[in-house]
């Protein structure tokens, strides 16, 4: 098991390097020179060149990139160009808020999708199934920034019940979590339904029923645990993506998450910050996926057996 985990972590390294290259390259292509922004408006050409050198932005792309990667391999994400602080520090400043939103939205998503998906599966092809699926579909189809705006208007502006934005305790988490969660709930509901449907046809549920297990228990204990593997996969990637920060939701709710930080880094052409943030996302995503793979083992003894081999 430990060897498996180590192997997976080692395999992340080339992916992270490739991600860093893609982003670094894109940022380099982007017009708009951070040096011009940092330099005072009346700076002379020599001053600007000196500044470029000081920032380590002189020389051809590959030289600069390899310099960057050299530090990266030492675990150093470098210094933000626009804020003069280490990228890691800036990222970690914002990351807790992102985690909060990611977990909050996931709880909302689970709270909506499990009952809905299970009800749809157990009442396959009934009106309940149909309406659950359309509801889920609406959740997927709704632009989250739009839902967010409508929620702000209703709950913050009209009813004055909840804060409209910012991160100031639990109450301020509710609206962004619902906004993001509703979106995630859409795809999650579909997954819960389809994997429950797969399981519900299985003979072992009939065995359980024939044993006298109540229908509730059949669904909650026997069926759900079996259906959990595909659900976990989707949960994992949902969480992983949410950890990457939902840019639009963060923008609408003034949520101080990493998504906004990254967007402003890209817009300011702060390539170390942008690259660093995106590397961190990829790392988070991969770690989440790894965690999900490990979680499989707890759910399914067959997978556990395969890992221990």
């Amino acid at each position: 098991m430990i060897r498996y985990v180590l192997k997976r972590i080692l395999m992340m390294i080339p992916v992270l390097l490739a991600v860093s290259f893609v982003v670094y390259f894109l940022m380099d292509l982007a017009p708009g020179d951070i040096v011009m922004q940092l330099a005072p408006t009346d700076a002379t050409a020599e001053q600007i060149e000196q500044l470029r050198k000081d920032l380590g932005l002189d020389g051809p792309l590959l030289t600069r990139y390899f310099r960057y990667v050299g530090n990266l391999l030492k675990g150093d994400l470098g210094q933000s160009l626009s804020q003069n602080r280490p990228v890691m520090e800036l990222f970690m400043d914002r990351f807790p808020a992102t985690v909060k939103l990611a977990v909050g939205s996931l709880i909302v998503a689970i709270g909506i999708s499990f009952p809905l998906g299970i009800a749809a599966a157990t009442h396959h092809r009934s009106w309940l199934d149909g309406s659950s699926m359309v509801t889920a579909m609406i959740g997927v189809s709704m632009p989250s920034f739009w839902l967010g705006l409508l929620l702000i208007m209703l709950f913050a502006s009209k009813l004055n019940l909840l804060p409209s934005g910012g991160d100031s305790g639990f109450l301020s988490l509710i609206l962004p979590a619902i906004t993001l969660g509703a979106n995630q709930a859409g795809s999650l509901t579909r997954t819960v339904r389809s994997s429950m449907l797969d399981v519900i046809r299985q003979d072992y549920l009939r065995t359980a029923r024939a044993k006298g297990v109540s229908e509730k228990q059949v669904i909650r204990k026997h069926a759900l645990k079996n259906a959990l593997i595909p659900i976990l996969t989707v949960l994992g990637s949902t969480l992983g993506n949410a950890l990457g920060g939902s840019v639009t939701v963060e923008a609408v709710f003034a949520w101080p998450g990493v998504g906004r930080l990254t967007v402003s880094a890209i817009n300011n052409r702060d390539m170390t910050l942008a690259t660093g943030c995106i590397i961190m996302f990829t790392l988070m995503l991969n770690l989440t996926l790894l965690a999900v793979d490990i979680a499989y083992a707890f759910v399914d003894p067959r997978i556990r057996a395969r890992y221990s081999k």
Binding site: Q37, L38, R94, S157, G166, S168, G169, L171, R260
Partner: protein
């Protein structure tokens, strides 16, 4: 089964957190004895742009400078009462010669760390600016050849170039005086927060808020009646407004224009407005000889044919002051010239004369909201004359790079931009219009204009200087027409009623040095 338990547990934890947060957010009345006037303990100001650093030298972003203005002081500053340059840390100054100045510091000014301001701090600050490399206040570094200490409070400044307006240079927001001793005793990231302002830096949560607390021993300003001052970052104007209405914040910056009437009419809220010094304009690329924009007739036609009132309605919902001159109103030596009035008939015939009808011309601007709207409106207006405008949007940094690159090859024809100068008239010309200017978006390289700008700066006689600037204004606006000035937009605060000391600054570095809110009972 287990999942349910975990979910329940998590929910409980979150609930508990909410309760906790709810408690800590409770507003407690000030701890002054009863009977006396009470003030709200914490004032929260919602800002739109992100605060990133307390280091004044690192940035020129207004969102940072507003906070730094609370914690740090400059040698001289714009007085919002008289709208003129006034002493701040300097008590007085004297121009020995245009390139030799003497400055006297105020005595017994205390830094947050308890040390007293002296000449060494000024020298240290300058040296840090020189050593600091990037982001430094280069206008200061460039201007100063040497500072000589006379005694603890007096020093001499030798300039690289004669400048009769050096007192304005000392007001450069990035040249905030830091404590030398603090840097010797504390880690630099803490020392940099030590200033002489009425507010001390307390905490900063990236992307969310920055909190200051009052400096009890402040000598330069009265100690604020407010204990804590928090700047909360809320990028959405609507969200800021809702936050103000919900009582989450006490002041909001830049409310939507559509909320202006709501702010002034709602009980318990107030609206503060003023004109920004920012000059918005349409700039033609004077070096793009392939384009019709280098035809003076075309530019004159645009100047006649452009309905600025309509543009103001479209871009700022009517909340802006129409500009007839390239100079902003509160800048020294501004003269109210007539410029080129709106005359669509004249424009029509001029457009026909220069063969612009039926042509397609490109316009590039940044994705800032008002520029996007100006661009669309310009496009619609020009369409009435049979001219097709294509719009390209880019991020501001890309636009700056494009507009400052060589105009003969950049391909730019028209751009919509703006310029926020310092108070003195030279700022109005040197950067955006001088051939050596760093923000010369219209790519103007006219030796005559350059000479006029330089001459105006070294003119000692005020009246003659005023004449020179008047001449420049008329020349730029009606003859050269490298710009069509549009307007100065309205800047505004929304605040709870009774709040005082929140002051709008035309240069956008708004002041909160004495912000306070009396509360009843």
């Amino acid at each position: 089964m287990k999942l349910r338990k975990i979910t329940a547990l998590l929910l409980c934890a979150l609930m508990a957190a909410a309760l906790f947060a709810g408690c800590s957010n409770d507003e407690k009345p000030g701890n002054t004895p009863s009977g006396e006037t009470k003030y709200k303990e914490e004032i929260i100001i919602a800002i739109g742009d992100e605060f990133t650093t307390i280091d004044p030298m690192e940035t020129t972003a207004e969102s940072n400078q507003i906070v730094q203005d609370c914690t740090h002081d400059l040698l001289t500053d714009t007085s919002l009462d008289t709208m003129s340059n006034a002493p701040e840390l300097a008590e007085s100054w004297e121009m020995v010669a245009p390139d030799h100045w003497k400055v006297k510091l105020k005595a017994n000014v205390k830094f947050h760390d308890g040390t007293i301001l002296n000449t060494d701090d000024v020298l240290f600050t300058l040296q840090r600016a020189i050593d600091g490399g990037y982001g430094g206040p280069s206008s200061v570094v460039q201007a100063i050849k040497e500072i000589k200490k006379i005694d603890d409070l007096n020093f001499e400044v030798f300039l690289t170039k004669p400048n009769v307006d050096f007192n304005y240079v000392m007001a450069s927001n990035t040249f905030a005086i830091l404590s030398k001793e603090a840097f010797e005793t504390m880690p630099p990231e803490e020392a940099v927060a030590i200033g002489t302002g009425p507010w001390k830096f307390k905490e900063f949560v990236s992307g969310d808020h920055v909190t200051l607390e009052r400096f009890e021993e402040c000598t330069l300003y009265p100690v604020p009646n407010t204990k804590l001052l928090t700047f909360r970052m809320i990028p959405e104007a609507n969200a800021r407004m809702v936050a103000l209405e919900n009582g989450e914040v006490d002041v909001i910056m830049s409310p939507n224009a559509t909320d202006f009437s709501r702010l002034s009419e709602t009980d318990g809220l107030q609206l503060l407005t003023g004109d920004a010094r920012t000059q918005h304009f349409i700039a033609f690329n004077m070096k793009n000889t392939n384009s019709i924009v280098t035809d003076p007739k075309f530019r004159l036609a645009v100047a006649y044919g452009y309905d600025k009132d309509e543009a103001i309605l479209a871009a700022w919902d009517g909340y802006a002051r129409k500009s007839t001159s390239n100079m902003s109103r509160d800048v020294e030596y501004y003269a109210d010239i007539e410029g080129i009035p709106y005359d669509p008939e004249k424009a029509k015939s001029l457009f026909e004369e220069c063969g612009a009808v039926g042509k397609t011309i490109s316009l590039v601007t940044s994705d800032a909201d008002h520029r996007v709207k100006l661009a669309q409106n310009f496009q619609a207006q020009m369409a009435e004359y049979g001219i097709t405008i294509t719009i390209e949007l880019m991020q501001n940094s890309a636009l700056t790079e494009l507009n400052t690159s060589d105009g003969t090859t950049s391909g730019v024809e028209i751009t919509i931009a703006s310029w926020t100068p310092g108070m003195n008239a030279d700022y109005m010309y040197r950067n955006p219009l001088h051939s050596e200017g760093g923000r010369n978006y219209c790519q103007l390289a006219d030796p005559e204009i350059d000479a006029m700008i330089d001459a105006a700066l070294s003119e000692l006689d005020k009246e003659k200087r005023a004449e020179k600037y008047l001449e420049l204004q008329n020349k730029i606006v009606t003859e050269v027409i490298c710009w069509v000035p549009i307007a100065q937009h309205t800047i505004a605060f929304g605040a709870v009623e009774g709040l005082t000391g929140a002051r709008l600054h035309p240069g956008l570095v708004h002041q909160f040095k004495t912000v306070e809110l009396k509360i009843e009972g």
